[in-house]
Symmetry: C2
Subunit: 182 residues, 2 copies
Amino acid sequence: MRVFAREGYHRAKIEVVAEEAGIGKGTVYEYFKSKTDLFLALHDHMLAELKAFYMKELEGIREPVAMLERFIEVAFETFRLWEPFFLVFFDYWAEGGRGEQQKLLQTRLREAYAVAREDVAAIIAAGVKDGSFRCENPLLAAASILATLDGLVLQWLCDRDAFDLDAIGKNLTEMILRSLRP
Amino acid sequence: MRVFAREGYHRAKIEVVAEEAGIGKGTVYEYFKSKTDLFLALHDHMLAELKAFYMKELEGIREPVAMLERFIEVAFETFRLWEPFFLVFFDYWAEGGRGEQQKLLQTRLREAYAVAREDVAAIIAAGVKDGSFRCENPLLAAASILATLDGLVLQWLCDRDAFDLDAIGKNLTEMILRSLRP
DNA sequence: TTAGAATGACCGGTTGGTCGGTCATTCATG
DNA sequence: CATGAATGACCGACCAACCGGTCATTCTAA
């Protein structure tokens, strides 16, 4: 992750990965059959960790409004805490958009997004049910919310001084809650 | 643009670019001193075209609410019309996030974002002034709106069947306007 | 005739992946 | 317990493909 984050997929050299892992280059190929394979494995690993982190942070919260608030809060925490993680994601996005060469990666991205959308949509739908939210199409709203978070990491990583992550986090939460208010 | 969009920066070969342009490989180097230089020139060209397109589509509109509505509408139109364009943007994002190697590109991305944020913020600020919007920090709101648009292209290009671009456009416009309503 | 635009064969650096071999550990046997 | 065989994790020198960039040559248009 460190090497891929720092250099990007294409510039990253297996030799350097091995070096930083304190093993020989040949050893890498004992565990991963190719550079792509290693990259894919990293994707799965990171996604699993991210998901686990979210689950832990949201467990115990039942109130839809509080859940959504906490979800956005956690998102901004992860931006800061897992910066290299998101740097690597740039490459998945770049490759995943190119369907032809990267069917495997694209499928994984697709599924990850679908799951995330449904998770967020479930929170919104619960809120609609108990009257704390108003929303005609929770799935579309969820897509927009996730998009905003993705887009903000993008902007922030391109220009860390452009805005204060705390301020934008507070502001965004407010905007989203207001747009879902009955 | 076609080749970079299809293959991504690293896989794109100058020879193929030349071929599709109907010229010899050497000729490319008569006009651009390196692959990076060509890529950067493409970035500037695309950004200028995009900006010109927006200006044209927004000219004549004075009412802030109508301007913002039209802005979002135009964004979704460009997603469809300039798909390859956004595919290339993936690479700018991926490279721009990696500060060290790509200072030049990062600076350009930064400036492009700053300009776009200010443009959108100006619309919102105008709306706040004439009472059609309520917003404490137009710049932060603008950042979020742009982020949502970026994030949605990302999701859409990774999975074109995941959602209907028209539906999400309408939905998003509604959500944004509601979140800015006084 | 000639300036300079266009060309593509070629070069050289880079790097993903291979493979023959080493060595520490474990196991089988007497 | 001692010995040597078997194992497999580990290694890095090496190979071959690939591609950005060059340049000697050809073409073209004024």
